[in-house]
Point group: C2
Chain length 271, copies 2
């Protein structure tokens, strides 16, 4: 069964209907509302979903860059996909999201057939308490999307002094709420579920929003599927703040210490 | 004077001629040849150059993502720019590079009018010997572009055992050769001038090449101009290697410890 009633709210939020070759229609979801407009992670996942649905897709996502070009109004939107280039085992994509014929968001992506090779992880899996020992964060008022994730902060909760050794770092266990088996789409959204680092770095609350986000997927579909609904460990840090923008980098780990994705974004902030 | 003879080889390599609205023509440069095709950093800078030349540009580069979609043949190419969205103080861009009407590379970018705000740098400026105390790397045979940069390695030279504490890290002083005053274009190219981390991480030489690269610019035009021809400190590290791809992250610092840019890329490798 996958009627609208039994569908997970994430799947309902990123759902698309085909509207001719390379064209899809979607709709914002109240379940993933942010303070202004929809939670960006779900928009990014929706753009990726158009690629996942596309009959010409070759391989799985390796890289996804999302530009949040303008505020997205509540309601319907159109997506248009374009294969920029197809190689023997990889493919480059452009997806545009329009409202009233104006581009509000767009994404580029690389998909590829992954093959077994030598591998190693140089990022360091942090030693933190297990998820079950940490309390989930209550959903924030005026940001419904925060209720769609179970977030258990180790440290770096905005507004709470912490001694993590890094002034803009947060570490938290995160998974979909209600639980949903992990896939590229939910992982893409989780990569954007870190609060803006400027809120961790200083107490002042100012308008801030992601402008562009790039995610690299290190796991393949089978590995993500094997994780099921287990919590993921997210680590996010700011690098540089100034002149109205800052950048932050994040890692998403499995409970077993497998690095599933790394993600980087540039964020607008005021003052 | 800026005749072809007196032009810096970098400026000659990224030079464009306008070919109607939103269209430009360029040509690969033997001076920046890589083992196969042109050095990717110069291709990325060429794509950015189309935006820098565009009469409708609003503000300076904040973010640049380049997809290297297919091998670029020696010779001419066409560029086509498209403003995806213009906001009050920021603008989103797409630039395509085609050869024989096929997309060989493309870039998305954010430009914005930067304003003074609160700022801080959380990345850590490494303590290393000054450039003058380190010997420049001789240019590599079969990769002319390496002769276009003065690279003075602190550690992490491929094929040389080092004890930097990070298995895939390199730290080096770098600047254009011959010297050229820094701007967004040369900084964009320098962000792609780090050897693939897989060559630092293990002795085996295998085919490898950048597939997609994202750079965040933290400095504005005046700050870059003030640096002039001083060497920059580059730091690059791998994060995860496996299934045919790895990602690496880099920081570019001024001698005075100002973080000028951070950059992330995903790289294809064989075996």
């Amino acid at each position: 069964m996958s009627t609208a009633d039994s569908m997970h709210p994430f799947d309902a939020a990123i759902a698309l209907s085909a509207d001719g070759d390379d064209r899809y229609r979607g709709h914002t979801s109240p379940a993933y509302q942010n303070m202004v407009g929809p939670f960006g992670g779900v928009i990014g996942a929706t753009l990726l979903n158009a690629i996942m649905h596309h009959p010409a897709r070759l391989g799985d996502p390796v890289s996804l860059t999302v530009h949040y070009a303008a505020p997205i109004a509540d309601g319907g939107f159109e997506l248009r996909t374009r294969v920029m280039r197809t190689n023997r085992s990889s493919q480059h994509w452009l997806v545009e999201l329009t409202q009233d014929d104006q581009v509000a968001a767009f994404a580029t992506a690389l998909t590829a057939v992954r093959r077994d090779t030598w591998g190693a992880t140089d990022a360091v899996f942090p030693r933190v308490p297990p998820a079950r020992e940490l309390a989930p964060l209550p959903p924030l008022p005026h940001a419904a999307w925060t209720g769609r994730y179970e977030m258990r902060f180790v440290d770096g909760l905005p507004g709470v002094e912490s001694d993590s050794g890094h002034p803009s770092q947060s570490r938290l266990w995160i998974r979909d709420q209600p639980a949903r088996p992990l896939d590229f789409l939910s992982l893409a959204a989780i990569c954007d579920a870190f609060f803006p680092r400027v809120y961790v770095r200083r107490p002042k609350r100012v308008p801030a929003g992601t402008v562009a986000l790039t995610t690299y997927f290190h796991a393949d579909a089978a590995e993500l599927s094997a994780i099921g609904t287990a919590p993921l460990l997210g680590v996010a840090r700011g690098l540089n703040f100034g002149k109205g923008f800052f950048d932050q980098s994040a890692e998403i780990w499995s409970e077993q210490g497998v690095l599933l994705a790394t993600s980087h974004q540039v964020v607008y902030f005021k003052e």
